[in-house]
């Protein structure tokens, strides 16, 4: 099925390394979201795109986190100089429009920083 696809599925990084996580949303979905899910917790909002415009990045924990969606489809979440507290599952979701359209989540990228 043509769901939200995320890669890599797992990523192990040494502290201080940069990582890039990719999200392929459902074709035609205008809105794209990134969430961070710590172990045993619910997902927490990071950032939101409508087409190529980043409309909300209030959830990004620090300036080491950067997201882009240059052509309004594929998105990349980049984390610079990774720290151990960055270890989490990073979920991408997309929807047809922003408000009150159900989000379709990918299976996430599990990032472990050693």
């Amino acid at each position: 099925g043509a769901g939200v696809s995320q890669s890599p599925r797992y990523k192990v990084a040494k502290r201080g390394q940069d990582v890039a996580l990719r999200c392929d949303p459902i074709s035609g979905h205008v809105s794209l979201f990134w969430y961070q899910q710590a172990l045993g917790q619910g997902p927490e909002f990071l950032t939101y795109f409508q087409n190529e415009a980043q409309l909300d990045k209030s959830g990004l924990p620090s300036d080491r986190f950067f997201a882009e969606r240059p052509e309004g489809s594929v998105s990349t979440l980049k984390i610079q100089r990774t720290q151990q507290e960055d270890s989490a599952v990073y979920l991408c979701a997309s929807s047809l429009v922003g408000d009150n359209s159900p989000l379709h989540f990918g299976n996430g990228t599990r990032l472990t920083v050693t």
Partner: protein, 111 residues
């Protein structure tokens, strides 16, 4: 601030029994809620939603009840099956598609 909470972190039920998962919210202006199911190693999956002009909404084997007076909602699963084992989240959209998730309730179904 905005928060969505769940009463119990874990729930264990016998196969075939009904399950009830509860959720409390703090924002009285919230007018739409969503329940998600998250299986191990997967992303959250939409189950059912409810708007504040409704008290009850039914899906296939699931029912969501909303009590706006006490700011509480519940997810009822009828005839729980092993495939229902997962973590269940209630979520409150706060605008712009952003969701506030609760911590989650892990449902275990005993055969």
């Amino acid at each position: 601030g905005e928060s969505v909470g769940l009463h119990l972190p874990t729930l264990s039920v016998q196969e075939g029994d009904n399950s009830i998962i509860n959720c409390a919210y703090s924002n009285s202006a919230s007018d739409y809620f969503i329940w998600y199911k998250q299986e191990s190693g997967k992303g959250p999956q939409f189950i059912i939603d409810i708007r504040s002009n409704m008290d009850k909404r039914q899906g296939q084997r699931v029912t969501v009840l909303l009590n706006k007076t006490v700011k509480h909602l519940s997810l009822q699963i009828a005839a729980t099956q092993p495939g229902d084992s997962a973590v269940y989240f209630c979520a409150d959209p706060v605008g712009g598609g952003k969701l506030i998730f609760g911590q989650g309730t892990e449902l275990s179904v005993k055969p």
